[in-house]
């Protein structure tokens, strides 16, 4: 400590230090125990073959070797990417359309916006239940609608081919509101002078959109794409309620596979290795997102 300080100043420095550490202590403790410590524990566990109740055999990098050679793991990664590839473009297109329409000075904007946003805040279990009913191959609303327009019915969640598209449909419906809000915010920040200038130059609405608006909002588009892709890898609840990963693994995404290996098969060591694999994937996606858009992301 600086000896030139007066006793009063010195007292203040000491008090500042005490207060600083005291005030940050509760948060730091919780974060240490439930986030930092687990990050190390998961690495430790990944080196063992363990069911956490007795068996605890050291296997070195055996779990990782199994992981890298596992058709089930890579299958789950591919299915997750399939889910992302099916849901993200649709989510971006539809949410952008909604945001553009709502930004066109419509009346009752708050009301419309609330409608588009409400699926996002409603719980996954409750809404999955009603979609189970909607997807029902026998008397569900979706097949009734297909029949009404003269299309053949689908078995939706009960068929290995249509289960993932159905999962994509549900998830896109549930999460679309988030992207709508992001795009509405982005659109409202596009300077109106730019749009007016383009119009004066004789550009059509369509051209103005592609050459002015779309490039201006591209950071938000990247943000939405990466956030939705990351959440695909973390997805668990709707899989558990709608399909439990089936039929025949057709909807077992990586998040669900992790849970299955841990709490279904009691293979906590191997599942820890899956966790680390998941971390690497999400970390790379986050780095990509930061590099491209410079936004900070908060995980739930």
């Amino acid at each position: 400590m600086d000896s030139k300080l007066t006793p009063a100043q010195r007292k203040k420095v000491i008090r500042d230090n005490v207060a600083g550490w005291l005030f940050t202590f509760p948060s730091t403790l919780v974060l240490f125990v439930f986030t930092f410590l687990p990050a190390f524990v998961v690495i430790f566990l990944s080196l063992f073959d363990t069911n956490l109740v007795g068996k605890m055999d050291f296997v070195g990098l055996g779990n990782f070797r199994e992981l890298l050679g596992s058709g089930d793991f890579w299958g789950s990664v591919l299915r997750t990417l399939y889910f992302a590839a099916g849901s993200v473009p649709v989510a971006v297109a539809v949410s952008l359309l909604i945001a553009v329409l709502l930004n066109a000075k419509v009346r009752g904007r708050t009301f419309w916006r609330m409608g588009f946003f409400i699926p996002y805040i409603t719980p996954l279990v409750a809404t999955s239940i009603i979609w189970l009913y909607i997807f029902n191959p026998g008397f569900g609303m979706l097949n009734a609608a297909l029949h009404f327009v003269g299309l053949p019915p689908s078995r939706w969640l009960s068929d290995t081919v249509s289960a993932m598209p159905a999962m994509i449909l549900y998830s896109t419906w549930h999460d679309i509101g988030f992207a709508v809000i992001i795009f509405m915010a982005a659109l409202s920040k596009v300077p109106t002078e730019l749009l007016e200038a383009a119009q004066i130059d004789g550009a059509s609405g369509w051209r103005t959109f592609w050459h002015v608006t779309w490039p201006m909002i591209s950071p938000s588009t990247y943000f939405v794409v990466i956030i939705y892709t990351i959440s695909a890898f973390k997805m668990y609840t709707q899989v558990a309620v709608l399909t439990q990963g089936g039929p025949v693994d057709s909807t077992t995404t990586t998040g669900y596979y992790l849970y299955q290996q841990a709490f279904g098969q009691m293979r906590f060591g191997y599942a820890s290795a899956v966790s680390i694999g998941l971390f690497v994937i999400i970390f790379l996606l986050t780095m990509l997102q930061r590099k491209v858009t410079g936004r900070k992301v908060f995980y739930g």
Binding site: A126, L258, L278
Partner: protein, 281 residues
């Protein structure tokens, strides 16, 4: 003149088209909620009709009564409310204190500690699921409310957001308070906190919604019926009544309604919190 009248005409057509497209999209998105309510009011034998009946001609509340009687829902609501309120209040307290220290107090190691806290963002919950399950068991908290509350008793998002707020407050305010002899805690409580109200509301809504809709974590760390949270209980109800669509819809309605009502009250803050305040409603 004709061209102008024409363009007025086309403008009107455009407006009509605009509202038409919005309305169609709106109906598609909101329809599952309508369907949830209609189904919950239908007699059980009607819900398996082909084609489905779009309007409940013989509306009945019997499904609500049957579904409600099937399980101790009041208990589940109580558990969920308790866990949601407790984790919200505790995380608000810990994050605002930490944010205040990071923003307003000079202490040794502040920068390093703050960076460490921020780095927590890089670790997703999916990665810490298994070790946290082990830690909860080691602490002896398996199947207790501690397991549902304490891991959420701090929020990096909250610390980050509140710190921004506290840092944007004029320094003179803090200096004046110190000259007046106010302690740090007093300044924090009576000046800094009230000024950060919008951030506090945003954090509270996020935390409350998070607890109310949580599913995976309570599935992993609780077991007994009297610790069950609403979403887990609803999934169990689904398992026990997998073909009772009318009752399932009724249970979905009454477990979702509290969150929808809450949302109506806070929707502006919540949406602005996501959109970064760029949109006005």
């Amino acid at each position: 003149m004709t061209t102008m009248r024409q363009s007025v005409f086309w403008n009107k057509v455009n407006r009509v088209l605009l509202y038409l497209v919005i309305a169609i999209l709106f109906i598609v998105v909101v329809f599952p909620f309508y369907w949830m309510i209609v189904t919950s009011l239908q007699p059980q034998d009607v819900v398996m009709n082909v084609p489905p009946e779009l309007w409940p001609r013989h509306a009945t509340f019997q499904n609500y009564i049957d579904a409600w009687k099937f399980a101790p829902w009041l208990r589940y609501f109580g558990n969920t409310l308790f866990v949601a309120v407790a984790s919200t209040l505790i995380s608000l307290a810990t994050s605002s204190l930490a944010a205040f220290a990071f923003a307003c107090i000079d202490f040794k190691g502040k920068e390093a500690l703050f960076n460490l806290v921020l780095s927590v963002m890089m670790i997703p919950a999916a990665t810490t699921l298994i070790p946290n399950f082990l830690i909860i068991r080691t602490l002896g908290w398996y199947d207790t409310f501690y397991a549902l509350i304490i891991p959420f008793a701090a929020s990096v998002f909250g610390i980050f957001l509140l710190r921004q707020y506290f840092m944007s407050m004029p320094k003179e305010l803090w200096e004046a308070a110190q000259i007046d002899g106010a302690s740090r805690l007093r300044y924090f409580r009576s000046i800094a906190l009230p000024l950060a109200k919008p951030a506090i509301v945003t954090i509270a809504i996020n935390s409350f919604l998070g607890s109310w809709t949580s599913f995976l974590w309570p599935t992993v760390v609780t077991q007994s019926q009297n610790k069950q949270l609403i979403e887990v209980a609803l999934n169990t109800f689904l398992g026990d009544n997998s073909q009772q669509w009318a009752q399932l819809a009724a249970a979905s309605v009454f477990t979702t309604i509290p969150i929808v009502i809450l949302f109506f009250f806070v929707q502006r803050q919540f949406i602005e919190g996501i959109g970064g305040g760029g949109i006005k409603g």
